[in-house]
Structures are given as structure tokens and as C-alpha cells.
Amino acid sequence: MSLQVIDNATCTFCGCVCDDIQLHYDETRIHKANKACVLGTAWFLNHTVEHKYPDALIDGKKASLDDAIELAATLLHEADMPLVYGMSNTTCEAQKECAALADQLGGLLDSHTSL
């Protein structure tokens, strides 16, 4: 089967964020990441579209996405001083939503930088 190709794809594994990677892929996985370094290649090749993990877990048990979102909202809303933390391995669009979340909760907002 022939593979599809994306030119100039972006690797986000390290701070270099190389944007010249050529990815060869099919429906399930990436087979080749040209120009990427060892770290980047491992990052691209290790992810597949398999349904490896459950959609959501509540107290360690499988749960639906909707239930998990509802419970998350309730827990955060009930808290007096919720913390929103992390945001390293995610997109700027999601980070912006996180800022909105902390703002609306009157909570704390922090990233990996402060470690």
C-alpha cells in the first residue's frame, strides 16, 4: 500500500520545534519521519490511532467522555482554590482555553516554567 506524505510537518518534541519534517503515513500510523532526529522520530513513530486507553477514567474505572467532563466541571466549581497547571504538551488554542478556565474559576494558573 502506498503511503501518504506530508511535507514540512512540525515536530513538537523539543523546543526546536523543527518544521521541516517529511512524514510518510497511512490510516493507522506514521512509518517514516524524514529529517527528524532520534528523539523526533521516536515521538512520531510511537503514536498510532489505536484505541489504546479508555476514553476517560473516573476513580480508575472506565467512564464516558460526557460523564468525565461533567464531573470535572463539578469538582472544579466546588473547589475554593483550584489549580490549572501544565500546558507544556498542548496547543496554544488549548492553553488559551485553560487561561479562560482559571479566570472563570478564580483559581491559580501556572506552567512548567515555574518548576
Binding site: 503515513y25 503514536h47 498510532t48 477514567l57 468525565a68 466541571a73 469538582l75 485553560c98 478564580g106
Partner: protein, 321 residues
């Protein structure tokens, strides 16, 4: 980090003939930094590529990056701030005692040579890693190095840039600065953003046990933070968003699996020099994106009464008059 003297990696690639890596190991942590930007590239201004550039590595031990360097300076652990301060004095021809220099583990000849090279460079760039910013002195070290870079501009063009770690941490900084005015360590508990690292930074908040819920996205503190912080995460309701079931997911009340950025989730990521780059995800994930899940949580919270005692939203100033 407002007010830093910096530039893009494109300028470094085209012009920088003097490169310093301080407390970082690019050979192993940022493998393509040398080849793409700092050492190997030829340009109009540096036609001979590597031969036209000088690379200095400052670190506490000889890492793999030392092989790529022209000069390796082994500084005594925890003496980075002192060394930077000495350099700041030496570039201005101020007196520095022999004991002070010996205390950093280096010699006067080496430092004089370094200062001489820094001043005769056409375009110098200092990259600093976690070996500088996460050891004794922490952000005071980074601030000192940024000041050194700024002061070097009295003699020649000099810039400094942090070597940011994995993923989109730079994006988090940039985005928080844009949305709140501060880069990290922020609280909204008075309804407007306030900034105080040490008080509102995560490790401190968790170790003191200040917060009573945690929402963790794109990070795995369960694997990296000190034990008292992890213990507190176990005590309070923790919510985790991650493409994998992580250490933190195992101690969380709620884990939601999301699509990995850049592989199955589209969006934007910032390079370490704060250049935003679009992601081109090739795969379609069975999981939703982070952005979608956080927005859904936001909407669910919006449907509940606001946290002010009377449940009302804060009003704009114009609405009050």
C-alpha cells in the same frame, strides 16, 4: 521574561559567529539545534559555516555537547551566578580578586580570553538551559545572564535566549503573557490576575497544601515533582488530560484521554525563540483534542452559578456607572 535582549533563531543561523551554551546539553536534548541553527549552517555573513563560528560550552560536567565545542568551561556546581557576575565586571575592566575567580573553578587567563573573544565577536548569542535556570539561584541566574547580554551591547551585538524544553512550554509563556500580562505563577482569586512566583507557583502551592482541586493538562507532575506535592495531589480531586494514562492519571479522580498535539491534534506551537508554527497532524485520533475538552468543561462551569457569594458575574466598570 519581558525586556530580554533576544532574536530569532533565523538571525542566529545567518549571523551569530560566537555561540555560548550555558547549562544545557543540546547534543542530547535539542539534537538539531547545532545543525539547523547555531553551528553547521553557512550563510552570506558566515560563508565558511562552522569554521566562522566559535562555540563555548559552560557546564558543571563534560557532556556530549563538549565534543562539539571549541572551548569548554567547567564551572563549579552552584557558582554560575558568581561566574556571570565576574564576567559582567571583567567586560567593564573592573577589578576582580583572584579568590573570587578561583571560587568558580576557572582561571583568570581563561576568563580574560573569553571576554576578549566576546568583545571581538560580530554577533554573540548565549543560550541557557535548565542547568542554569533550575539550579542554585534559579531565575536570578537567568536574569544575570540576560543582563550580561544586554551589557555586552556596549561593545558588540549580543543576545540571550532560553533553551526551552519539551513541547510547547514557550507557547504557554507567550499565551499567559498575552491573556494575563504575566508568564506563569498567576492567581485569579481576586477576580483579576496577580503574579507571584514562590507563592502561586505550583510546587509551592502543592507542598503547602493550598489548593483544593487540580486540573492538569499536558504535564506529568506525578513523575517529576517532589513527594509532598504528589501526596497533596492524591488528597485533593485531581483532573488529568493527557494522550496517555500517566503517573498523575493513576492518582487522579478523573482522567480524560486526548489526541496528541501535532500528531492527531491541530493547532499552533511556539519555537524557543517565540516564533509560532502551525502543526500539521497526519493522523485522525479516536480521542478528542485538548482544546475541545477544556472548552466543554468551561461551558459546563459557565452553566453553574459564578463563585462570588451572590452568584453574579463581575461587572465591567462601564456597567456599574
Amino acid at each position: 521574561m519581558g525586556g530580554k535582549v533576544s532574536c530569532t533563531l533565523g538571525e542566529v543561523k545567518q549571523r551569530a559567529d560566537f555561540i555560548v551554551y550555558w547549562g544545557g546539553n543540546p547534543a542530547e536534548c535539542h539534537p538539531r539545534h547545532f545543525t539547523k541553527y547555531t553551528l553547521m549552517q553557512k550563510s552570506k555573513f558566515l560563508p565558511r559555516g562552522r569554521k566562522d563560528r566559535t562555540m563555548v560550552l559552560v557546564d558543571i560536567r563534560e557532556t556530549k555537547s563538549a565534543k562539539a565545542s571549541d572551548i569548554f568551561l567547567q564551572v563549579r556546581p552552584g557558582k554560575d551566578f558568581e561566574l556571570i557576575t565576574i564576567l559582567r565586571a571583567l567586560i567593564k575592566d573592573q577589578n576582580v580578586s583572584d579568590e573570587a575567580i578561583a571560587d568558580t573553578g576557572l582561571t583568570r587567563e581563561v576568563l580574560d580570553d573569553l571576554v576578549q573573544r566576546m568583545k571581538s565577536a560580530k554577533f554573540g548569542c548565549m543560550f541557557f538551559g535548565m542547568g542554569l535556570s533550575m539550579t542554585r539561584g534559579k531565575h536570578m541566574n537567568s536574569a544575570a545572564l540576560l543582563t550580561l547580554a544586554a551589557e555586552m551591547n556596549a561593545f558588540t551585538k549580543f543576545v540571550a535566549m532560553p533553551m526551552r524544553g519539551h513541547g510547547n512550554v514557550t507557547g504557554a509563556d507567550v499565551m499567559m503573557r498575552w491573556q494575563t500580562g504575566y508568564p506563569f505563577g498567576i492567581t485569579f482569586n481576586r477576580g483579576y490576575p496577580r503574579y507571584n512566583p514562590g507563592e502561586f507557583s505550583t510546587v509551592d502551592v502543592l507542598v503547602r497544601g493550598d489548593c483544593d482541586a487540580a486540573f492538569i493538562i499536558g504535564a506529568d507532575p506525578g513523575g517529576t515533582m517532589p513527594q509532598p506535592a504528589i501526596d497533596h495531589l492524591k488528597r485533593i480531586p485531581t483532573i488529568v488530560l493527557d494522550p496517555h494514562v500517566t503517573h498523575t492519571s493513576k492518582l487522579a479522580r478523573v482522567h480524560i484521554t486526548t489526541a496528541p498535539q501535532g500528531i492527531a491534534a491541530p493547532g499552533t506551537a511556539y519555537r524557543m525563540d517565540e516564533v509560532p508554527l502551525p502543526l500539521k497532524p497526519p493522523l485522525k485520533s479516536p480521542y478528542p483534542t485538548d482544546e475541545y475538552v477544556v472548552r466543554r468543561i468551561n461551558e459546563a462551569i459557565m452553566a453553574k452559578p459564578f463563585w462570588l457569594p451572590d452568584g453574579s458575574q463581575p461587572q465591567m466598570l462601564t456597567a456599574q456607572v
